[in-house]
Structures are given as C-alpha cells and as structure tokens.
C-alpha cells in the first residue's frame, strides 16, 4: 500500500480559532475515505489544505508534493468538486470541455462526452440554463474524465434530490472507482455513503476523533440494546454512550469484546451516524 496523503502535526489557525488542530493521518491508495464532522469542524479547511488552496503549519504531503507550493503540479493528479454551484454560469458546455481539454493534460474529452451522452445535458447549453442536478452531472462527467489519482468531494450532492444523489454515487462507483484511485468524501448525509466507504474519519473542533477502516469498526464498537437489570449491568461495563429507544436502553461500547456483552441483550455493529454522535458528545464532555 502506498500512502497518497501523509499529514503530521497539521494545523491551521484563524486568529484564536483552531480550525485544524495538530492532526496526523495517512490516506492509502485505493481507499474511499469518508471525512465526517459537524459544521465548523474543520473539514473544509483540512480539504483546502490538502488541495493547496490554503497554507497550513506542519508536514503535509499529497502525492509526494507540498500542496500549497506545488499546487499546479498537484492538480494534474487531483480533482475536486467543492460544491455544486461552482461551474461558471455563463459558460457553454462545449466551451467548458474545450477549456478543460486545453489546460488539463490528463483529461479525456471522449470520456467526458461519453458520460454526458447518458444525461440530458445538451452540449450547446449554457450552465445557467441547466438544472442544479444537471450541473452536477456535467461537473461529475468532467471530473470522471480526468485520469486522477485522488478525487476530493466536498459535500458533492448538497441540495440535490434523492434520485440525483443515488445516481451520483452509483456513477462514481461503477464508472470511476478502481483500485488505483482514491476518493475522499465529506458529507452530512453519512447514511447514504457509509456502504461505499472503505475507511472513515471523524473530525470535530479541528481534531480527529476516529480514523479507522470500516471493517474494523465491528471489532472495536458494539451496540447493545437491553433493559432492566441487564441495563444496569451494561452500564457497569463503561459504555461510551447511552440513549433510550422504544423504552429500551441502547449502549455503545468501545473496546469491550462481544463475549462480555453476550447474554445482556441484542448486539449489533452501530450505524456510523450513532457512532459519530457518541464520539462527538464524548469529546465535548
């Protein structure tokens, strides 16, 4: 496994606010990493640092390059969609393809036109004439036609309806992703993407709360649903979170083996959203 991104002690301060506070992590090739955090957690700042759009302290290397100082070189091998609204509204679809073709060495116009052919986006249309969903399809068609090593998606489906969102992720998985590519996604709608992630990272108040492969979440975290005396016993085992559901108590354990909990009630691997809430609340205590 090669490490595409390597961060050691990376920080970014805006005055007294620590948007990113001394974080260290690696992203390996062939992964789909979900970066999850509440608003203002530092997600976007961290992505901007990775993309060389903002300066930061610490050691940060992306594809072996310093993102801020070697941004042009880096962007030949990285793509990103920052938000659905960023395509210029005045441009025509053909002009957009012409332009990207002439400035991007790894762009295949044929591929982009192939993807666009599957949509309702007309090639002579201006971006301002397209619906929000179509603009996203256009942007994704361009991005997927770039042979990049790392794709960064920052809330890529914000404001889209469920049909477009589902289609977006299925296109991404079926037409784009392979073992040589790496995808980094941030989103609020974690339920929609948790099945396609290979790795997950939680960030809150500039710090990383969790950084784990999806498959080992089941080894570390377990959710127990129980009631009565069993609930009291469970509480004694030190759950990291507890909440009530349908009159029962739901406990979330970290690092407690399933054997110890067997017999106390129903066990399951917690959904990412529950784990996230528990981790963020735990960090605030």
């Amino acid at each position: 496994m090669t490490s595409l991104v390597s961060a050691r002690g990376v920080s970014k301060h805006f005055g007294a606010v620590r948007a990113v506070d001394d974080v260290s992590f690696d992203i390996e090739e062939g992964k789909i990493l979900g970066l999850i955090g509440p608003n203002g957690a530092g997600k976007t700042t961290l992505l901007k640092a990775l993309l060389g759009l903002t300066d930061c302290q610490g050691d940060l290397s992306v594809l072996g390059l310093d993102p801020f100082r070697q941004r042009k070189e880096l962007l030949k091998n990285i793509c990103f969609i920052a938000d659905v609204a960023v395509l210029p509204r005045w441009i025509r679809v053909t002009q957009l393809l012409d332009f990207v073709e002439s400035v991007h060495p790894n762009f295949s116009r044929k591929r982009a036109e192939g993807f666009l052919g599957q949509t309702n986006v007309r090639s002579d249309a201006k971006v301002r004439e397209l619906s929000k969903g179509m603009v996203t399809q256009l942007h994704l068609s361009i991005i997927m036609a770039i042979d990049a090593k790392l794709l960064v998606l920052d809330e890529p489906t914000l404001g889209l309806d469920i049909l477009f969102r589902k289609e977006f992720y299925s296109n991404l998985l079926n037409d784009y992703f392979d073992e040589e590519r790496t995808i980094l996604i941030t989103t609020h709608q974690v339920e929609e993407i948790e099945n396609l992630l290979t790795d997950i990272m939680f960030i809150n108040e500039g710090k990383i709360l969790l950084d784990s492969p999806m498959e080992s979440l089941a080894d570390t975290y377990v959710e127990l649903m129980t009631s009565g005396d069993d609930a009291t016993a469970a509480r004694g085992l030190g759950p990291i979170a507890e909440h009530e559901m349908f009159g029962k108590s739901v406990f979330l354990f970290e690092g407690v083996s399933r054997e110890n909990l067997q017999g106390l009630g129903e066990l399951r691997t917690p959904p990412v959203a529950d784990l996230f809430v528990a981790k963020v609340k735990g960090a605030r205590k």
């Binding site: 962007l75 938000d83 210029p88 025509r92 002009q95 400035v103 060495p105």
Partner: protein
C-alpha cells in the same frame, strides 16, 4: 505555459463578450454616420460637397489626404475612447465576478497557477483589447472607404484616384496600431490598480477603484496644499510621450489643410523611441507590475469560503 495562456485568453473573450461587442457597436455607429452624411450631402449640389472626401472641388491630393486622414483619426479616437471605458469595466469585473459567483473554486481546481490566471487578465486588458480595437478600426476604415467609393462612382467620378489613391492606408493603420498599444502600456498603472481592486474588494469595485482617486487629491489639497497626486493621475492620459511636434488636433486646423504632404503622414508625428525611453512609461509599468503582483497574492492567499 503558452497553451494555458491561449486557453485562458480565449476564456476571457467567451466570458466578456463586450470585448468584441463594444468595437462592433462603435463600428456600426461610425458606418451609419458615414451613410447618413453621404445621403444628406447627396441632396446638395455637387460643388458644395466639400465635406465629402471624394468631392472633386477639394483643392488637391494633399488636402484630400488630410481630409481622409482626419476622418480616420477622428473615428479612431472614438474607438480608443470606447476601448478605454471597456478596459475599465473589464478589469474591475474580471477578478471580482469569479469570486461573486464562486466559480473561482472551479478555476482553481484546474492545474493553472494564480499567476497564470491573473496575467491572462492583464494580457487581455493591454494586448487583446487593443488588438481587437485596431482590427475594428481597420475594418471600419475599409468598409467606410468602400461605401464612400460607391458614392463617388455614383456621382460619376473616379473612386480609384479620388479615394484609394489618396489614402495613406499603411501609414494610417500602422499609426493606429502604435497609438493603441502605446496608450494601453501608458495607462497600465490604472489597469494594474483596477485588477488589484477587482481581486480584493468585497463589494462595488467601481466605487472602490475611484473613491481613492477622488479622496487622496482632496486630502492632499487640504492638508498639504499641493496637487502632486492629482496631476500625476489625472493628467497622465494627455502626457503620453508618443507625439512630437504638432499635436494630433492640428489635423483639424484650417491651416493644416494647406500644409505640405509630409505632415499628412501620421507616422511622422509618432516618436516611438521617445516613448520607449521615457522614464514615465517605465515607472508606469513598474506600478502596474506591483499592483498585478498584489492581485496574484490576494487571489492565492485569501480564503474564499
């Protein structure tokens, strides 16, 4: 680098259609004006048509040259004026609009440096707009000479001699190219300032660009009792060290209708060496470079979210 620049320049023309719409509009107005003049003049008796270049009662070839060159210079100034207004609006908009509609995030997701992007906007202002202007001047010139020739032929005169034989075409066109490019270079500190304002201001670039140009001279006058800034800024346009001897306006003088043929040459009035060796010109370029560097810096370091 070169391919990027060409693509970026093309992009500017796509986005700012006024770059070619403005000269087209001026060309249409000038041509319509010529047509109206010819039709109006056509109502007079032939011997009264002194205003018309092809009229046989213009004294001689030299005077006809002066009349045609005068027409050429007059219309060229209209194009230059339009280009100046266009450049002000273009430079104030180009780095502001991309931030306002957030498309800057898309442009910055492509392998293009901020320096390349800002330089393409500078090149649009001081190379592309002047070149488009010169092409429009030449095209308008040709169209108007053709229209006038048809009129002269309709009057039964020899257009080949009266019109085409009398116009110093190459001289006029080369002069137009030099004057337009030199003006753009001479005014480049303003271009740099406008680009910088466009890159940093959060609202109303026009107001932000012109407010200091009004306030600073006012404050200088009140507190220092001097007018150094105002003179440097507001008189710069008229001080371009390109012309020698007779002022351009001399062409419209009654007297110049009777001067010898050499004076009809526009090139003879231009002093390119004097322009290129002028410290003021170079100082202006340095000011422009400083502002453009500042604009690049702002685009690169400012967080847009």
């Amino acid at each position: 680098m070169m391919i990027n620049q060409l693509a970026l320049l093309k992009r500017e023309v796509w986005e700012h259609r006024s770059i070619y719409v403005t000269p087209l509009a001026v060309a249409s107005i000038v041509t319509l004006g010529t047509l109206a003049m010819l039709m109006f003049a056509g109502g007079f008796a032939k011997e009264l048509d002194v205003a018309i270049f092809g009229a046989t009662n213009i004294a001689g070839d030299a005077e006809r040259r002066v009349a045609l060159t005068g027409f050429f210079v007059g219309t060229s100034w209209v194009f230059l004026l339009a280009a100046m207004v266009l450049t002000i609006f273009y430079t104030l908009d180009c780095l502001y609009a991309e931030r306002k509609d957030k498309s800057i995030l898309f442009w910055r997701s492509l392998p293009i440096t901020d320096a390349e992007a800002v330089v393409s906007k500078l090149a649009t202002a001081i190379v592309v707009i002047p070149l488009v202007t010169v092409v429009a001047i030449i095209a308008t010139h040709i169209v108007n000479l053709v229209v006038t020739s048809i009129w002269v032929i309709a009057k039964g005169a020899d257009a080949g001699h009266l019109i085409w034989g009398s116009v110093p075409l190459l001289d006029n066109w080369l002069a137009a190219l030099i004057v337009t490019l030199a003006s753009a270079i001479w005014m480049s500190p303003f271009v740099g300032w406008f680009l910088f304002v466009s890159a940093f201001t959060k609202r109303s670039p026009l107001l932000m660009a012109f407010m200091p140009l009004v306030l600073i001279p006012l404050l200088e006058l009140i507190f220092l009792r001097s007018t150094v800034f105002a003179e440097a800024v507001f008189t710069r346009r008229g001080m371009i060290p390109l012309f020698r001897g007779m002022d351009m306006e001399g062409f419209f003088d009654e007297e110049s209708l009777h001067v010898n043929e050499e004076i009809v040459s526009l090139l003879a009035h231009l002093d390119v060496v004097q322009f290129l060796t002028s410290p003021s010109m170079w100082a202006g370029l340095v000011v422009c470079a400083l502002f453009v560097t500042a604009a690049i810096y702002v685009r690169r370091y400012r967080d847009e979210s």
